[in-house]
Symmetry: C2
């Protein structure tokens, strides 16, 4: 008896009101869910409009049942055609596919994806390109069977570059080893913990938009509880 | 210093693996978010395909910046045209609009929407039609200024009809008065509480898909915490 936990923690670059990263989540038509994280080049309103456009395209394809790799290719083609190869964005798709019983991670980003299983942490950092600027760009895809104790962590630039200005770059793997000492740690605790570590390295003033997405497979304590839950908070004013 | 909390609790009809209700959430292009809840006629796979189709259409229009009332009308027109007026679905849209600083609730459902302010509970149950079957169907729209202590509660049939089989129908307003004695109660606690009350009236075996959506405006205890958070759990196997 297991459950899927998905969690996102997200904060804008210091003194910028709007994060240039976009995160969208949808239910897959065959069951399960997909999370899409995009980071548009630059920051502020322009980056936001770009990342929103790319995320919406990917999500709408996934909602139509398009497979993840094809959705990533199509989102690139769309951006490349409409923006004439002049703007780039990163695109990450994490899907919990209940037909194949796998977690599918599609990467078009220089940020690695990290997957913990009960034994070790795996860093997926194969070379790949962002979408939007090179013809025929395709994603790097990783597929992992759904099993208790699996935790997939996706993050944006703000985590990768945290601490660079102060010469104290964040060691993401070490931070996650620490947060995942208990391999059944709640997804939200892992997301909040990694985001906090990144922001701390930037002395509370993030030099870029920071987003962390965590998808975790966990044992279900109460097997009679079949309720799905979704919770969201965001500060305003 | 306030925050928006959105929470969903959702369970399928007893002995049916898949809920016929669909809930989707998106970020609005102008800021804020929209939640869309649809309930397709019938139950099981057919109802699910229908509610998914309607929800996807509404969400994709909202993501393009279409105003809520127009998105509801267009979703009806789409369903009516494609299904030739032969299938119906309920459609509720709740939006937190940061341009107008209001919560906008669009109703095409026989289920009332309940809004609590710090003083009293308001039941919005003006007559309206589901989408898909009558020509030129339009939504009933309610707009409420964003202010601390506001709680909007949207629910599906499973809550409305809870307890009918046993002759002990759930009094939704009384249940919410109880859950909202503290008008700053967390959105997730309100959603979980109403869902639990509905399921209890059906003696643990819901006679229909049960979905509860809560959007709440709350004071923000830590004003330096500007992190957005999203959390999701769903049981599998």
């Amino acid at each position: 008896m297991i459950e899927i936990q998905a969690a996102v923690a997200k904060v804008a670059k210091y003194a910028v009101s709007e994060s240039g990263d976009t995160l969208e989540m949808i239910e897959r038509p065959g069951g399960g869910l997909s999370l899409v994280l995009t980071d548009g080049q630059g920051s502020g309103a322009g980056a936001k409009a770009l990342s929103h456009l790319a995320a919406r395209k990917a999500v709408s394809l996934l909602a139509d049942g398009v497979r993840d790799g094809a959705a990533a290719r199509a989102t690139h083609d769309f951006l490349y055609a409409h923006k004439k190869g002049r703007v780039s964005a990163t695109l990450n798709i994490v899907s919990v596919d209940l037909i194949t019983n796998t977690i599918v991670i599609s990467r078009n980003s220089h940020c690695p994806v990290i997957v913990a299983d009960p034994v070790s942490l795996h860093v997926y950092d194969q070379p790949c390109q962002p979408i939007g600027i090179y013809p025929r760009t395709k994603p790097v895809i990783t597929e992992i069977p759904i099993a208790p104790g699996i935790t997939a962590v996706i993050y944006s630039d703000g985590v990768l570059h945290a601490g660079e200005r102060t010469g104290q770059r964040l060691d993401v793997v070490a931070a996650l080893e620490d947060l995942l000492q208990d391999r059944y740690a709640a997804a939200q605790a892992v997301a909040d913990g990694l985001l906090a570590a990144a922001v701390a390295r930037d002395r509370g003033r993030p030099g870029d938009d920071v987003s962390v997405v965590v998808v975790a497979v966990r044992p279900r304590p109460d097997t009679t509880d079949t309720v799905r839950r979704l919770s969201m908070t965001f500060p305003i004013l």
